[in-house]
């Protein structure tokens, strides 16, 4: 989808074989990632999969049990936290309770021994950016949750670091403010050239903002890819089930699709050798409702979401209803017999 850049992208942060255990829990298990200069990199994964732990290692608060981390090719782990050109926005904000909003934001600038007037100007500018100009004199406990989150964001971005680590930066904001902040982050990426690593639970946010996304599960990286490829070509069953809505079938790969004992052969693409145990994933929007199709079932439920309708269809022999997304309002009613079809190019085979 995006043009291939002529020069190979330069790696800013190299993470090689990093592991971190907490007692029995492997928070990170042999994680390797390349984060490129100037890119917006998102970490996606269920709660407890190790996202925060990875950011804490990059920031220097946690040391890996094994593995290497480099920044610009130089060993990052050798640098103490306060000397790393990395700013982290904490998931729990970690605002200094005894300082005002302006004091919190100025703290990092004061450490650079900038002239006082310059610090003031920068603080005012960033407060305007996050929409908190009127709150400069307040203490954190006098702010709402969303306001505190924006102070934490402002405190992290005001230093314009090489690498900005954001742990759920926008989770407490309403839709409108969130959209504004997203634009602001993109602006920082493009105009200032900051490299972002952002943890988010919001898949749409990751999809729309990120250049690349790493999907993690239980301390392991499952797949690193551009949003579109992640969505269209999930590499593992976990990613297929985790990213977006998906209809998954279990069976064995055949030349032209997947053989499911109770359903027959389902068409799908993917270079799997015949006979391999596999999953077939079909996105709801790729499934067509029709008279005759690959499968037939009964409509169990119809819900209308404005632009799209979701139709759940029960198919005998398959334990979960098949989701179909149709444009606009649909005329099918619960109880109706329908056929389901898709083209082989829209269905992906995944080894399991």
């Amino acid at each position: 989808m995006s043009a291939v850049p002529d020069a190979p992208p330069r790696t800013l942060v190299g993470i090689e074989g990093v592991s971190r255990r907490f007692g029995e829990v492997a928070a990170l298990d042999d994680v390797s990632l390349d984060i490129r200069q100037g890119e917006f990199f998102a970490l996606l994964g269920p709660s407890g999969c190790g996202k925060t732990t990875l950011l804490r290692i990059l920031a220097g608060f946690e040391a890996p049990d094994a593995g290497r981390v480099t920044l610009d090719g130089a060993d990052l782990l050798a640098l103490p936290a306060h000397r790393r050109p990395v700013n982290l926005m904490f998931q729990s904000y970690a605002l200094f309770p005894h300082m005002t909003v302006a004091g919190n934001i100025a703290y990092g600038l004061e450490r650079e021994r900038l002239p006082r007037a310059e610090v003031r100007a920068k603080v005012e500018e960033v407060l305007a950016t996050v929409g908190l100009s009127g709150q400069a004199g307040r203490r954190p406990h006098q702010l709402s949750g969303g306001q505190r989150q924006r102070v934490a964001l402002a405190r992290a971005i005001v230093k314009r670091p090489r690498l900005l680590l954001l742990d759920e930066p926008l989770s407490a904001l309403d839709k409108k403010v969130r959209a504004e902040m997203q634009l602001e982050l993109k602006r920082l990426q493009h105009e200032v050239g900051i490299t972002f690593v952002v943890v988010t639970h919001d898949q749409e946010e990751a999809m729309s903002l990120a250049d690349r996304i790493a999907v993690m599960e239980a301390g392991r990286v499952q797949q690193v890819d551009q949003p579109v490829r992640l969505y269209e070509r999930p590499a593992t069953p976990f990613v297929a089930g985790f990213i977006g809505a998906n209809n998954l079938f279990e069976g064995t790969a055949a030349g032209d699709g997947l053989v499911v004992p109770a359903l027959g052969t389902l068409p799908g693409g993917g270079g799997l050798a015949a006979g391999t145990p596999a999953l077939l994933g079909v996105r709801p929007e790729s499934v067509r409702l029709g008279e005759a199709g690959i499968l037939t079932g009964t409509v169990a439920d119809v819900s209308f979401y404005g632009g799209v309708s979701h139709i759940a269809v029960r198919v005998p022999g398959h334990d979960r209803p098949i989701l179909v997304a149709a444009q606009g309002a649909t005329r099918v009613r619960p109880g109706a017999e329908v056929g389901l079809g898709w083209s082989a190019a829209d269905a992906v085979l995944i080894a399991r």
Binding site: F61, H82, A94, H98, Y107, R111, P140
Partner: protein, 312 residues
Amino acid sequence: MTTEHDIAPPGAAARPTTGRAPRRPRALGGAAARLAFLGPGIGYLIVLLIVPLALIVGYTVFRRGRFGGVVYEATTENFTRLFDPLYFDIVVSSVRTATLTTLIALLIGYPTAYVIAGLPRKWKTIALVAIVLPFWTNFLIRVYAWVILLSGPGLVNETLTGAGLIDEPLQLLYNQGTIVTGLLYSYLPLMVLPLYAAIERLDPQLREASANLGARPVRTFWSVTLPLTLPGVLTGCVFVFVPCLGNFVIPEILGGGRSIMVGNLIRDQFLKARDWPFGSTLALAVIAVLVLLLFVQAWAARINGGAEDRRA
């Protein structure tokens, strides 16, 4: 002390009529219960604090009786005598000794508490037990132990002469330094414990955030750790200063029995000089200093109050 209405039967909540009916008896029972719980405490305060305090305050304006007690003739001479250099200097030097002890206790106690707060859980418990362990032995015995340690033929001098560092035993007892040592030894735990509580409660992420923003560890300490543990510092200082200022046992045993601190002076006024009114005046002066100190602490804690009130 509950009425039968206080203990609702399991089905009570479901009954629609329980809304108003039990209110009045509960209020009565509540008052009785409150009195029953507060009574002993209030009685204790009246008998052991308010009455003696009133007596002390009252005595300060009367003349002394010849064999103790008071003669009810109003006078201000007790207060003028307070500023007699003979006594005033002792009050001042006591405040100085207590302040010095408190400062040293803070300088030793803060790093100790800091280290303990950073230990793994198991070692934390062991360290805290070790801190309070001396309290299990009688206070007097522990103070006398210092006499044995520091006396001419005592362990310290023996060791130093044995090592060839000194030729003659040092005079380690009966001076200001000995008193400070004794006070420090006795009250250091009262400094460490509130400091430990304050440091332990501090969110470690705040220190991380400081480092992340480019602050060296020393800067983090002065800008984040210390300001946020200031209430603990103040509490510890009050806990140490108060018993130090009024102490008379340690100056008596380790100070050689001279009236070096105001505590000894007060004791002597009551028991030796039999001048109850002047003893009361001295005691009142000490109380005044301590109350002032508590006000300062409360004020400083309020300034820092925003830090306590974290909703996140």
